[in-house]
Symmetry: C2
Subunit: 151 residues, 2 copies
Amino acid sequence: MRNDSRLSRMLHVLLHMARHDGPMTSEVVARMLGTNPVVVRRTMAGLRKAGYVRSEKGHGGGWSIAMDLTKVSLLDVHRAVGGPRIFAIGSEHPNPDCAVEKIVNEAVEGAMREAEALLISRLGEVSLAELAKRFDMRCAGAIEARAPKQT
Amino acid sequence: MRNDSRLSRMLHVLLHMARHDGPMTSEVVARMLGTNPVVVRRTMAGLRKAGYVRSEKGHGGGWSIAMDLTKVSLLDVHRAVGGPRIFAIGSEHPNPDCAVEKIVNEAVEGAMREAEALLISRLGEVSLAELAKRFDMRCAGAIEARAPKQT
DNA sequence: AATCATGTAACATTTAATGTAACGTGAGTT
DNA sequence: AACTCACGTTACATTAAATGTTACATGATT
């Protein structure tokens, strides 16, 4: 299967939407992501169901933010897009008969559970507002670098 | 893509081989794994290249252990089978032009790096000998449960 | 010489995400 | 009312990576 990029894509879009007045159409978003409006609608449907965005039809319609950016974490977005499989590795038999295989699975899955817990925890610690702030700070830094103040 | 089960499969096989006198043919291993001898040879080739097993042709041939089980970790096996992609999620643009996307990638990849480091570390802590011991202990426990000694 | 078992290349299958095309619905515009 | 815009949804095609399969070559043992 291909790499699942729904989380990254949606974060990318949400930050752009947050810096944008008025709704953005799926067409525009698709161009930003280098994809297709149908893919955008399909993926954003999850965000809408979670109440993070709203969509409006017709002239002047499109997608807009419907949440408090400080209240939604990267983990929330991950879950809203389907909370997909995180790992590309794993056993094929969740409940093997073979006792040896059980031991192997327990060892590997134990390590994976810990790693997943850490990832989930880290994603849960960062809000969209925090991401937006990081972007603003980097922009400020870039401007600063071009026209440095005296120190 | 499908779930990558090479690590689990190889661990499973190696533990069986460790408890088995003489070489095991790819045919037998394939039946254990519910797969095909060619898949076994293909995957075990990595272990052979790493020096963890050896293979012999002809009558009485097959695969046998060529390592000290206390010296090889689950991580070593993971790497020997190709050290495949661990995550099923991720950005599609490793080096995006868009500054927003860069911020997003850094956040997500940072969390993933931490999770991967933890997983790698945990896999590195467990040797094949340790896994084999866990199996023996579980067997002992099971026997004990059937015919408990007086305490 | 026959058989066994690995080694390898080439190709088919599978799976989940992604990409596309087609059609429907509702909202605003003219 | 007719038209256009934009979303909603379904159905199907494409893609990527692991896995499955077939075919054939090579070396070892009997």
